[in-house]
């Protein structure tokens, strides 16, 4: 699912060690460092910004609110963070991560160079470098003083296997999504803006730290973010909702007000049936009518495994069924599945 970026998240984002303990991050560092050793690296720089920070959150718990941030993971010793904002804002940034060695960015190249010098000079890799703007990449390159090895696919792969703690948070986020959908359905007759706000309010009340709600303005229309077009919605409309709890997203696409229609019943039955298989395949008869796709979900709304990539145990994916009939417009249902060694487990469905 794709959702419009918001200019500043305001919900509860402080690092909560009782929910995501330091040991969880130590485990992540351990497997990341093993991969760094294989690649011959002494340091990994991990990029994140307000739009795309799943990788950064995975290693640091940090959600960048005021611009890009970078985690610096040495092969040994404590990691560091370089964050955006003014020096006076550092107290608020420190609350967001378990990493205490935090530098407020002044000159990115210089900040990185100094950090590396303080750690003895290190051969460096980069994670999520393709999401950076070119100027920031050049600054990181200047600071690291050499060619950067792209570690994105390697560490993305490590992130695929979700821990019990991560799955619990995705399930919790799913409850917020369900609360939002219920409020949305109840409120849509009063207009799109009213319904979206009611849904957001319900998601927050259910524990979300962030929520995005999209609705179509007509049956078969594509779900869109809040804007001033505010008709009273009649009939069933496609909607998409995403909510996150302590960094972890759940999302759902569905058609509200449709429970008795044949496609809705079919879609839900297929999604439930898929929750017993590991290969997520449709029968020939189903394939004639439905398109099935899946994509990883977790600290990013869309992460590894990439769209329709082969699945393996430990993956958590959002599976999406959409009607092939062009005349119906946008009609889709989704479910979140955790892939186990012997099959899949349904974590959440709309």
């Amino acid at each position: 699912m794709k959702a419009m970026n918001i200019s500043l998240p305001t919900g509860p984002f402080d690092w909560a060690p009782e929910i995501l303990p330091r040991a969880e991050f130590e485990r992540r560092l351990e497997i990341t460092r093993a991969a760094m050793r294989i690649a011959g690296l002494g340091l990994l720089i991990v990029h994140g910004d307000g739009f795309d920070h799943g990788a950064l959150s995975w290693v640091s718990g940090f959600t960048p609110k005021l611009g890009a941030a970078y985690a610096l993971i040495p092969l040994e010793g404590e990691p560091g963070l370089i964050v955006s904002g003014s020096p006076g804002m550092k107290p608020s940034a420190l609350r967001l991560s378990w990493i205490a060695d935090m530098t407020v960015q002044r000159d990115l190249a210089d900040d990185i160079r100094k950090w590396i010098e303080g750690h003895g000079g290190l051969k460096t890799g980069l994670y999520e470098g393709q999401a950076m703007a070119q100027a920031a990449y050049v600054a990181v390159l200047r600071g690291a003083g050499e060619t950067l090895s792209d570690m994105t696919s390697v560490v993305d792969d490590l992130r695929r296997r979700k821990s019990a703690c991560e799955i619990a948070l995705i399930v919790q986020a799913g409850r917020s999504v369900e609360a939002a959908l219920a409020a949305l359905e109840q409120s849509l007759p009063r207009g799109r803006r009213h319904a979206i706000i009611a849904a957001e309010r319900a998601a927050y009340a259910a524990g979300a730290q962030d929520v995005r709600v999209l609705t179509a303005d007509r049956a078969g229309g594509a779900p869109r973010p809040l804007d001033d077009f505010d008709p009273v919605i009649m009939g069933s409309v496609p909607v998409a909702v995403a909510a996150r709890v302590r960094g972890y997203w759940a999302s759902a696409e569905t058609v509200l007000g449709d429970d008795k229609t044949i496609p809705a019943r079919e879609a839900k039955a297929i999604l439930h049936a898929l929750a017993t298989t590991i290969d997520l395949s449709l029968t020939a008869e189903q394939s004639a009518r439905w398109s099935l796709s899946w994509q990883g979900i977790g600290l990013s709304l869309e992460e590894a495994p990439q769209r329709n990539a082969p699945l393996r145990a430990g993956d958590v994916v959002c599976a999406r069924l959409s009607l092939k009939s062009g005349s119906s417009g946008h009609i889709a249902w989704t479910a979140i599945l955790a892939i186990d060694p012997k099959g899949a487990r349904l974590l959440q469905t709309a």
Binding site: S7, L66, A133, R193, R224
Partner: protein, 371 residues
Amino acid sequence: MSLKPHSLEDRKSAIAAAMRAVGVQRLLLASNGHHQIDRFNPVQHLTGFRAIGPALAVLNSEGRIYGFGLEHDAGHYPRSNIDGVTCLDDLQDIDFDPRNAGSVGFATLPRRLAGALRQRLGELPAFDQAFYAVSARKTDAEIDHVRRGTRIAELGMDRLLEIARPGRRECDVAIEVNLYMKELGANDSFLMLNSGPRADAVMPSSERPIETGDLLLCELSPCVEGQFTQICRTVSIGAPSQCVVEKYPLLVKAMLAGIAAAKPGATVGDVCARIDDDLSNEGYAQYSRPPFIRRRGHGFGGGSMAPGDVAVDNRTVLEPGMVFIVHPNQFLPETGYMMCGETILITDNGHEILPQNTSRLLVAGAAGARL
């Protein structure tokens, strides 16, 4: 307050004329889809459209605009401002003739997209400076949105005063104020809100519970139809200290001195210098420069950031139709950081302060009343 009419069509014509003047036949406009308060977005600036993700548009020197979007966005460009939309599976598949062409916003794109476009189209000369230089003023519709947003910010502040109380977490207050402002018509909000007995800066909200004796620093910046606006306020939780009561009016006085200098033909630096001079005369010269202060206000992103930061070295000449905030937001050694700030509109003859009620020290929580 007088202001000549200005439309999106006028903006487009001014940019097209600037292109023709230097022989640029087409511009590739690029948006990364981040929608930040302090960043440019040329696609929105020219079409009014906020895409969910990265988006591209082409403006040719005859003033025609063609949008390129991914499936989830392509069908939603506003038809009135655009001459055609193409839906692409991948934005790098764009069909664009790079001869005599330039680009705007290219530097903000993620490398994976910028690199693919560069490989396909070659290096397009950046036209950003000229693009924004001739399109700094807001359109009439944008100014209406800013006015509406400013009123929403003020009402959001009223709501904040009702709900901010000891024991409530900063983030819960921020969520509620944002939802309230959405109910009133905002589509997004950049809301900074932090509390404490003494702060060095305004910050994003945390899970800290508000306490009696705190100063609550608030920067309310709702976005209406893609136009951000802002007010900055300071709230005492419970009765304020005598020192805060005495010192806060210095900030308001300095702000009004700066705003008084804001008129067509003056520079942004003039506005900042007046604020700095006023606070220096009160004995705070050393706190009127970095690291205590970097800027005294700024333009708003979404579209253009004009006129830029309110800083002494900004020589941008103010023009009618520009909108920006003037906020002294000063650290004083006796009180810590305090905030006051108003969004203003440059008119043909001077300026207009957009909020109905300008800054004053506010009180919430136990005392529950305004000073």
